[in-house]
């Protein structure tokens, strides 16, 4: 469900950009953190529906799932999503599909710990960003 709100944000921000620059958008490349558990197919479908009523109706969407690197600020350990999989599964179990990380991936430090030292104090890029726009 949340994929729709994200698609709305992408369409409206790219539409605004293209209007300002007065260009036609061919393709939008969107980078999405995989820990947000967004469903790529729903995101694409939402984008295709929402774009129809916008000035970027011809734009295609390319979604790049980003397997981000985590870096512990306490012990220096570098880890990946796979290393904290059990913790993410617990979140899914506790909250279901519309869970806090799905809606606000930046909440990751509240729900995961460094597998080596157990600290919540780690760096990770959880942003959703438009990486590039092709004309």
């Amino acid at each position: 469900m949340h994929e729709w709100a994200i698609a709305m944000s992408v369409v409206s921000s790219v539409e605004k950009w293209s209007t300002e620059k007065n260009v036609r958008v061919g393709k939008v490349i969107l980078s999405v953190p995989s820990l947000s558990m967004l469903e790529v197919e729903i995101l694409r479908e939402a984008f295709d529906v929402i774009k129809k009523d916008s000035k970027i109706a011809d734009a295609k969407l390319e979604i790049r799932l980003r397997d981000q690197e985590f870096s512990c600020r306490v012990c220096g350990n570098k880890f990946t999503l796979g290393d904290i999989k059990p913790q993410l599964e617990q979140v899914l179990k506790d909250y279901g599909e519309e869970n806090p990380l799905h809606i606000v991936p930046a909440l990751i430090t509240a729900f995961a710990k460094c597998p080596k030292c157990g600290s919540n104090d780690f760096d990770v890029d959880t942003s959703i960003k438009v990486e590039a726009i092709e004309l």
Binding site: M8, S13, W17, R73, P100, P105, A106
Partner: protein, 243 residues
């Protein structure tokens, strides 16, 4: 390009946003923001957004223990009459929230970007201090500000620094609220933080209106059901904010 930030800016375009702020903790921000929003919602649809991602006092004041529903449009509010309430506490429930500074900004951006905001009048409860929440809020919108302080000299000194910062960034608070200024007793008024001169002087110095709120010990009985409170703090706030 950060689409969530853009979405947040879009959502708040043309809205009247009133933020209750203080550099000092525990001075009554959440209580005042909640009562202001309740007063306003008696006349029209009003939103109340809780930016205190660690404390979630707003949910505790209203006794809300549910989780937000999420629709295609975004995060759906908790409804109390005409009041729509949004809070990160409504996403995480009882779970603690711990965030690095950068994550904190991301959380605020998402909350403001994804709220399915329908009302044109928005009150915001902010956490104490001048951290990431304040910076993120200012990236997205330019609020009207009510600055809250205790009449205590310590509180005033801290709040004056925030006032100077706000003025530096082009935001002139609409009002300075001296909260818990006096207590009414059978034998007259008691001023627990001393006389109110220093608050009045601060307002005078910067040309900002000053208002005072009484202490109401009975507010304790309404934690968890502040929507039922109609005592002197609420009545005084109604008088201060006539519009």
């Amino acid at each position: 390009m950060n689409p969530i930030l853009e979405l947040a800016k879009e959502r708040f375009k043309g809205k009247k946003v009133f933020a209750v702020m203080s550099a000092k903790g525990g001075v009554g921000k959440s209580t005042i923001a909640s009562l202001l929003a309740l007063n306003s919602s008696e006349k029209r649809g009003t939103a109340l957004i809780d930016l205190d991602v660690y404390g979630n006092s707003v949910l505790k004041l209203f006794g809300i223990k549910k989780l937000h529903e999420v629709s295609k449009e975004g995060i759906e509010p908790f409804k109390i009459g005409n009041l729509s309430i949004y809070s990160v506490g409504g996403l995480v429930g009882d779970h603690y929230v711990v965030l690095t500074g950068k994550q904190e900004g991301g959380v605020i951006e998402s909350l403001l970007g994804f709220t399915n905001l329908k009302d044109d009048l928005v009150f915001i409860d902010t956490p104490p201090g001048m951290g990431e929440e304040l910076l993120t809020l200012k990236r997205i919108l330019k609020p009207e500000v009510a600055l809250v302080t205790l009449p205590s000299r310590l509180s005033l000194k801290t709040v004056e620094q925030m006032l100077i910062y706000l003025l530096d960034t082009g935001i002139k608070p609409k009002v300075i609220i001296g909260n818990m200024a006096f207590l009414e007793t059978k034998n007259g008024l008691i001023y627990p933080f001393g006389n109110l001169e220093p608050v009045l002087k601060l307002g005078e110095e910067y040309g900002i209106r000053v208002e005072f709120l009484p202490i109401d010990p009975s507010i304790e009985d309404f934690i968890g059901r502040i929507q039922d409170y109609s005592g002197c703090i609420k009545v005084t706030l109604k008088r201060i904010f006539v519009s």
